[in-house]
């Protein structure tokens, strides 16, 4: 029987891993993810989840243990955040090259220094090119469900996947969610059937030297599998609706039918964009939302279809690539380049290090958008003492902020 429980995002993720019947869990504590592995530790200790729980000495080892476990045929799961994801980087590559469908939850937080445990997408965006699928949860329910959805696809394409949820905004916020019936999840997600599992009767070598005659083709196959994952995410999202009662898709539209202005968003701040859209509609503006649920594989076709012919597009990035712009904005521009009816794309950098992205923040962005005629790569929102705009070469930011307050 499914049940309705009041859970934080972190505990929902732990329930997601339990419902997915993870067999080896390896993790290292890091705020704000720690509650996930604490609960999984309890669930394995009590026998409610039949899994091996390995308390490794670093996130690098957490991913390395998952790599070993997955290579040996077990469903492997871990969770991390920020610095921990960065430390895993080398082994994230290993999971892809070794074609291991590991799933991890990343509670997205800002990168140090200065130390910040608050919401920010820079940690996961920094792993853009390793070859992991990436989903961005907007709610506590999704923090649970996306793990199950991700395993379903990962184990068909033999690529790993990560589910991002916002630090604190989701990880520590309790929402009532449906915890699915185990039998139904089992029907949706059968046991992991690896192609190879380090069987001593089949003494093969895995991941050794390849010369220049073969490496390129291995990478080609990764790209090919990621393309296939794009289609499978849609199929598996529909199957999720049939079996588990909630439909998921790589892109989600809201009030898009007649929208002239489209705001692009991902993660928890999307909920405030929804409210802002309602407020803007009340003011007579035809505003809509395009939510990126999947970031890798990037839903190029859906993005083109949903954005073609719009008057203006504002992309909200809770991340930035210094020297260019927010990364979602780059990807949207890249998908639209050369398309007929491609709208102008305005990049807005918001909410770094957990600065609130409120409903009013979004409406201010739209007011700024309407006042501009020329798209900008990166418009900074809510920087102390500065109006929304591009970085100024003669920025006075050094003379603002805490120092001035101290005087």
């Amino acid at each position: 029987m499914s049940e309705r429980l009041l859970l934080t995002g972190n505990h929902a993720a732990a329930y997601g891993a339990m419902l997915a019947r993870a067999e080896v869990i390896s993790a290292y504590p890091i705020t704000p993810q720690t509650m996930i592995v604490e609960l999984l530790s309890e669930l394995t200790a009590s026998g409610r989840l039949a899994a091996k729980f390995i308390t490794v000495e670093s996130e690098h080892s957490a991913m390395a243990a998952c790599v070993g476990a997955s290579a040996a045929g077990a469903r492997a799961y871990t969770a991390t955040s920020g610095q921990g994801l960065a430390l895993m980087h080398e082994m994230l590559h290993w999971a892809v090259g070794a074609r291991l469908p590991i799933v991890l939850t990343n509670v997205s937080r800002a990168m140090a220094p200065g130390w910040s445990i608050w919401s920010d997408q820079t940690d996961i965006i920094s792993q853009r090119d390793v070859g992991w699928m990436m989903l961005f949860a907007e709610s506590v329910q999704e923090a649970q469900d996306f793990i199950i959805w991700m395993y379903r696809v990962a184990e068909q394409v033999f690529l790993p996947g990560m589910v991002a949820m916002d630090a604190f905004i989701l990880s520590h916020t309790a929402e009532p969610i449906i915890v699915h019936d185990q039998d139904a999840v089992d029907a949706y997600l059968p046991g992991f059937e690896p192609l190879y599992d380090l069987d001593p009767t089949q003494p093969r070598a895995y991941g050794g030297l390849v010369n220049r005659d073969h490496y390129f083709e291995l990478r080609y196959k990764i790209f090919e599998s990621m393309e296939r994952a794009g289609r499978l995410l849609i199929e598996a999202g529909d199957e999720f609706a049939e079996i588990l009662g909630r439909r998921y898709s790589p892109v989600e539209g809201y009030m898009l039918d007649d929208a002239e202005i489209v705001i692009v968003s991902a993660g928890a701040m999307t909920s405030n964009v929804r409210q802002a859209d309602k407020d803007l509609r009340d003011r007579g503006m035809k505003a809509g939302l395009m939510r990126l649920v999947a970031f890798r594989p990037f839903p190029v076709a859906e993005v083109r279809r949903l954005l073609a012919g719009r008057r203006k597009v504002a992309v909200l990035d809770r991340n930035m690539s210094p020297g260019h712009s927010g990364v979602f904005a780059q990807e949207i521009r890249s998908a639209l380049a050369g398309q007929s009816g491609a709208p102008p794309v305005y990049g807005y950098v918001v909410g770094l290090g957990g600065r609130d992205v409120r409903v009013e923040t979004v409406t201010e962005v739209v007011d700024d958008l309407m006042a501009r005629d020329v798209p900008e790569l990166a418009l900074f929102v809510d920087v102390k003492g500065l109006p929304i705009g591009p970085v100024r070469p003669d920025s006075t930011i050094n003379r603002l902020g805490p120092l001035e307050v101290a005087r």
Partner: protein, 308 residues
Amino acid sequence: MRWAVPEAEFMDPGTLGCQGCGGTLSMRLVLKELGDDAIAVLPACCWSIIDGPWPVHALNIPVFHTAFETAAVVATGIKAAKQIKGKDTTVVAWAGDGGTFDIGLQALSGAAERNEDIVFICYDNEAYMNTGIQRSSATPLGTWTTTTPDERPEPRPKKDIMGIMAAHRIPYAATATVAYPDDLSRKVRTALAAKGGMRFLHLLSACPPGWKMAADDAIEAMRRAVQTNVFPLYEVRDGREYKITHWPEAEVDVADYFSLQGRFAPLLADDALLNLVRNNVRERWWFLVERHQQSLRKASSPDGAHLH
């Protein structure tokens, strides 16, 4: 001593090992004792090459290649998966000195502290040989490498990896070398019998190119390392019970070992440094002898049982 080498062969001829490679000879002998229900984890090391490029694979057990610093923890993950599937497969991490003493030490310490049910074998050729002879923390005092040239040879003694592993109180740790194959084989069997926890074998492994010597001197060099007490053969149970497993018949001067190898030229040219090393070797030997005798006394005392 009567001792039969198991006939089963788990390493094909035609590996990419150098002539006289101690790491290759050790692998062949160790695999014979490990048997056919085993998996090897190879971090970056000479063996990443020796096993052969795809589709060639010299070993007749599965090999999982992994990143430099992860041998112990990838072996841990594999073991966990096998356990959850109800299988008792032996999982061996096989790493060089870099992947053990240096970059691999953190994951190794973690696995040792958790007492993971794996066998970690370090084939120690005392420098980064695969990248072309750069010093590691296993490089002995006074040695030439490409990063410790003759004008500034290795300034520090070799790291005491056995002491570090003993300090983790793991069930079994031992030194060995393929120049004493009966001792090595017995230690592999002992390690297998101690399953349920972490086992560590430290194998001195000659590298003719890196040690600057002829390939056919490899076994002789490893033998002299033992005879001169530069590399004593011993084992440690539970981090406390020490047992010397080979007692040299007579004291042989350390120079007998060093003179066989060009890498020790800076050491042999510096009498003060050589004397310091000679004293270090003696001191280390007597430390082991004392620990050995202490363990014997405790084992024969009425309280001996408390050791376990």
